[in-house]
């Protein structure tokens, strides 16, 4: 089939959740691909997912095993995944072992046998696993020409028979250069698995994919009972238009705070509430989400430090009913399993929840909890990941409120830690001050991008009604140090 005289390349579903987005829509039909990586990183499972997603009786899949994992064991384990359809076995999916052929006749016989099987079955998919073992005996300069010739003939054989093909091999990254195998391939998938302290971090990279635009870089993936699930760095938002909010103002749920912010929080903004422990950050966030529910704006709360029922229970103490909207499906409180998350996985969870609820408001409580929930290997990229996440979510028109716990200092005043203030449009700072022998609380709007806001520093209290903002503390100076002085106009 042609389009303007050009051949149209069909894109086949990979069968891996999230991978089609990374591939740029799917895997090019009739492409010749290599799946490389260390043992145990999911190469065989990836190939199986593609095979079961695409194999039919008319265009079956031929799966050649060589000297790798014994086929019986492979079937034993692969059938545990939900994508494994027993009905396709020996029907749409056929396994052929080539080990004896390799031992008896070498590369030439392997090529001949693959050709024979391909010609007799007319497969749509051909997979050779573990391909590396076919070539292992032929490494070294003397055999390079033979290997290259074998590879080229195999590639020609497979592509000319109109099949999408995979070669699976255990390679080290150092072998990338000067290896003819990689030159011939149309697609090169590289899977990584590293242990970071107590966590396992899995990533994949599409080093090469001819004929279409794939998403570059390393993408996190996880192996679940459904097989591999990939999380694109671009979060599936490539090519999607950013929603430009009408810039209406959203109520924070606290009229005095809305007033300080010049009428409320600009829709689609990212707002940071920073303050020490006990200053009421989470309560502000809860009031923000409850105000949204009252205004008919569905919301999502991502919590890391308490369970959803605890979160709703705490809100009820302040007269905020979150249980009803949770039941109605207009509010989701997501508790993300701590300690080994990647930002991409969390993002996917949030994006899925956004789609489910059509959320307009999102609370992340807290950023410190979020960072702690990540696998250690992902913490190094926390700021960059946070940037991607906030950019993606606000791009969907969602207003985000994040809380950030800060160490209280009585000698300096910082707007926020992590140097993440550049990620947020608006910052509200909460802090303790010592006044008249009491530990009291003050609040100030530090920053609002492109919008006027009150410069007042106002005292507030946490009451049974939530955060109650009082008057500006006009008679004190150096409030932000935490140890203010009464000014003369105060009468002292």
């Amino acid at each position: 089939m042609t389009q303007n005289g050009k051949v149209k390349i069909n894109k086949l579903p990979s069968g891996v959740l999230g991978l089609d987005e990374i591939l740029g829509g799917g895997l090019p039909e009739f492409s010749f691909n290599i799946i490389a990586g260390a043992p145990g990183c999911g190469k065989t499972t990836l190939a199986h997912q593609f095979m079961f997603a695409n194999a039919t009786e008319e265009r079956p899949a031929l799966y050649f095993t060589v000297l790798g994992e014994p086929a019986l064991k492979m079937l034993r384990y692969q059938q545990q995944y939900t994508f494994f359809e027993v009905e396709k076995l020996n029907n749409a999916v056929r396994f052929v072992n080539l080990s004896q052929v390799l031992i008896d006749g070498g590369l030439e016989a392997v090529l001949e046998e693959i050709g024979k099987q391909v010609n007799s079955l007319n497969p749509g998919i051909v997979i050779v696993d573990s391909f590396r073992s076919v070539l292992r005996s032929k490494t070294g300069p003397a055999n390079e020409i033979e290997v290259q010739g074998f590879m080229q003939r195999l590639a020609l054989l497979l592509t000319s028979c109109e099949a999408t093909t995979f070669l699976i091999g255990e390679y080290a990254e150092s072998e990338l250069q000067d290896n003819p195998v990689f030159t011939v391939a149309d697609g090169l998938f590289w899977l990584y698995q590293t242990v970071e302290r107590n966590s396992v971090v899995r990533k994949l990279q599409l080093m090469k994919l001819r004929g279409q635009m794939s998403v570059p870089g390393l993408h996190t993936f996880r192996i679940t009972e459904g097989g591999l699930q990939a999380f694109s760095r671009t979060l599936g938002l490539t090519g999607k238009k950013r929603k430009v909010p009408a810039r209406k103002r959203l109520s924070s749920g606290i009229p005095a705070l809305d007033e300080m912010m010049g009428g409320g929080i600009p829709e689609g903004d990212s707002l940071l509430i920073a303050g020490a422990s006990g200053t009421g950050k989470s309560l502000l966030a809860t009031q923000f989400i409850a105000a949204g529910i009252r205004a008919g704006e569905p919301g999502i709360v991502a919590v890391f430090e308490e369970r959803p029922d605890e979160y709703a229970g705490r809100a009820s103490i302040f007269g905020l009913d979150l249980e009803t909207p949770i039941r109605d499906g207009t509010l989701e409180v997501i508790y993300l399993r701590p300690l080994d998350l990647s930002v991409d996985e969390m993002m996917q969870e949030l994006l899925d929840a956004v789609k489910r609820t059509d959320a307009k408001r999102l609370v992340i409580d807290s950023l410190a909890g979020f960072e702690m929930a990540l696998a250690p290997g992902f913490r190094a990229d926390f700021r960059e990941s946070l940037y991607r996440m906030i950019f993606a979510l606000t791009g969907l028109g969602i207003t985000i409120l994040s809380t950030l716990e800060m160490e209280e200092s009585f000698t300096e005043f910082r707007f926020s830690t992590y140097s993440i203030s550049f990620l947020t449009d608006d910052i509200i700072r909460l802090r303790y001050v010592e006044i008249d022998g009491q530990l009291r609380k003050i609040m100030m709007v530090v920053k609002m991008r492109g919008a006027a806001h009150s410069p007042d520093i106002r005292e507030y209290e946490i009451t049974a009604d939530g955060v109650t903002i009082g008057e500006r503390l006009a008679n004190y100076s150096e409030l932000i140090t935490g140890i203010p002085h009464k000014t003369e106009s105060s009468g002292n």
């Binding site: 014994p70 086929a71 076995l89």
Partner: protein, 143 residues
């Protein structure tokens, strides 16, 4: 040293194997036991799946287990290509023990559903006769 216990084959596995043997009995040529024909018919698809060496390892294991049940099977050998060589026809009456062990090993490794798929290819009439899928729940091998 205590002698090794024979592996007990569950009744459902025995039933399944008996049905395969019955199907082969219909095509019996008198030169070999129907149970050996069952093993031989499985050799080709299983060798295709596991490789010749893989199949040879599997049938050899099945033979070892079967020989614990009957000394008459000591006259049976596994050739290089996985085919069976029977040096004495005295083994014929107990040949079913070997086929049962082979089926039991398959059930143990890949489970009922995959095993039945593999058998279907060789004996298309097997399914739909007496035992249906799901009847083999207790087919796990007991030692």
């Amino acid at each position: 040293m205590q002698p090794m216990k024979a592996t007990v084959i569950p009744s459902t596995t025995r039933d399944l194997t008996e049905r395969l043997i019955a199907l082969e009995r219909c095509e019996a040529d008198g030169e070999t036991a129907p149970a050996f024909r069952v093993c031989d018919k499985l050799r080709r698809p299983l060798s295709m799946l596991m490789g010749t060496q893989g199949y040879r390892a599997l049938i050899s294991r099945a033979l070892t287990l079967a020989q614990r049940e009957s000394k008459l099977l000591t006259s049976v050998r596994v050739k290089e290509d996985g085919a069976l060589e029977c040096l004495n026809s005295e083994a014929f009456p107990v040949a079913a023990l070997l086929a049962k062990q082979l089926i039991a090993l398959l059930l143990s490794f890949v489970g009922e559903a995959v095993t039945l798929r593999l058998l279907d290819d060789v004996w298309p009439t097997l399914r739909g006769s007496e035992t249906t899928q799901g009847d083999l729940d207790d087919s796990k091998r007991q030692s």
